[in-house]
Amino acid sequence: MANWVPLWLHRLGSPPTFYRFAGAVYPWALGLAIVLGGIALYGGLVLAPADYQQGDAYRIIFIHVPSAWMSLFIYAIMTVAAFIGLVWRIKLAETVAMESAPIGAAFTAITLATGSLWGKPMWGTWWTWDARLTSELVLLFIYLGIIGLYHSFEDRRQGARAAAFLVLVGAVNVPIVHFSVNWWNTLHQGSTIRLLGPSHIAASMVWPLLTMMAATKLYYIASLFSRVRADLIASEGGKAWVRELALGHAQDGKA
């Protein structure tokens, strides 16, 4: 059995180890995210052909669809992290769940904004009470509720635990958003890209989409890691490893 995997994960749960690991990963993730995002934008906005029906307006999917995936993906990560944090009381998992929430809320807001920009030329309206649009809006409200609950406690740890509980309660909404286009056959189109079975989209349009998806994932990692690092420094301010870090930097500065 590969014993080092659980061991490594276990060590990663300690704040100083994670702080160093995140610091090492952060520049790579951010750099790759910018490079891949640039390639995907060039591929999507310049190389990919115009749609035979929607013309150039369809190109907003290269932002809209990856953001929508991320809005659900981040919530799923938050749910897992919140569960781990509540059951095994691992502080790092609580931090990951809480620091994911603003990023997820931003992706949800981008999804809604780009979707309504697309809806105006395609459907003739900015907003309609379609099942997917409504459930995505509810997802945004849940994100905001989690952020609000987290910040309304004096004690950060207690706020994180209460908000993690709310994450678990709100997780009911994720499958509703995902399956809403199948359950209620309304205005929003169904998914065109499938993991199982053939996709209903041309290959020249798929690769920028998938590249952008990788870029958003990497951006999430970079953003999350830098947020978690900042939070760890703030919440562990009195610990020895933070003091060493600060003193080390001070000495570097003198020399």
């Binding site: 509720g145 004690d155 635990r161």
Partner: protein
């Protein structure tokens, strides 16, 4: 009932909460008064045309009842936490989930039941056809306990927070969307002469689930809130 048994403890807690509510009868009347005023505002804002009012009557009554319940939810655990009786409930040998369930029941009896009683009058003011009136009462009778249970979990979560009034609304209202959809959908179906049993059945299923899970979740949330 032997003193000290779980049944006796539940009965005592229910009697205490109802007595406390009865001593402050004015507070029971407030949500009802609020609902009456909100419903009265709609004909002023939209014009007194009976066809339009009948169309929106079901939805308006549900949203009003939901908001009125939201007003009273904030006081569900707050007084007990302030005077220390919540600690006593947590230390009690009886399961906390059961005791919390009794508190939710007492809250439903004092806050939601008066609203259900007054709801047909409100719907009548908005010209809801009498054929849909029965469905409205049935839907309210199933939806309000569901809202009480859902709300109690979130109130328990905010119990340790400094300020919770607007936060509670921000957290509760998105989660109430399915309840409002099904409850108002049943009334709309009855108004159009369509079968309305399916949305009621969905509400019933949700209530059965919430009856089992919500007190447990509520107890867990209260333990988080009271930790410090």
């Amino acid at each position: 009932m032997t003193p000290g048994s779980t049944t006796a403890a539940c009965a005592a807690l229910l009697r205490r909460d109802l007595t406390l509510a009865w001593r402050r009868r004015g507070d029971i009347a407030l949500p009802v008064l609020y609902a009456v005023i909100v419903v009265t505002l709609f004909p002023f804002a939209l014009g007194p045309e009976p066809a339009l009012l009948a169309r929106i009557a079901g939805g308006v009554v549900f949203v009003t009842v939901l908001l009125a319940m939201l007003l009273s939810l904030d006081g569900l655990f707050r007084p007990d936490i302030d005077d220390g009786s919540m600690e006593q409930l947590m230390l009690a040998p009886q399961p906390l989930a059961l005791l919390v369930g009794m508190k939710i029941l007492a809250h439903w009896l004092t806050a939601a039941l008066p609203l259900i009683v007054v709801a047909p009058v409100l719907a009548g003011m908005l010209h809801l056809p009498s054929a849909a009136m029965g469905v409205l009462v049935v839907a309210l009778a199933i939806a309000t306990p569901l809202l009480s249970l859902l709300g109690a979990v979130l109130v328990a979560l905010t119990a340790g927070a400094k300020r919770s009034g607007m936060l509670l609304a921000l957290m509760l209202l998105p989660l109430c969307v399915p309840v409002v959809i099904f409850a108002a959908g049943a009334v709309a179906a009855a108004q159009d002469g369509l079968p309305w049993i399916a949305p009621i059945a969905w509400l019933g299923a949700g209530l059965a689930l919430a009856l089992v899970l919500a007190p447990l979740a509520c107890a867990a949330a209260l333990r988080i809130a009271m930790e410090s």
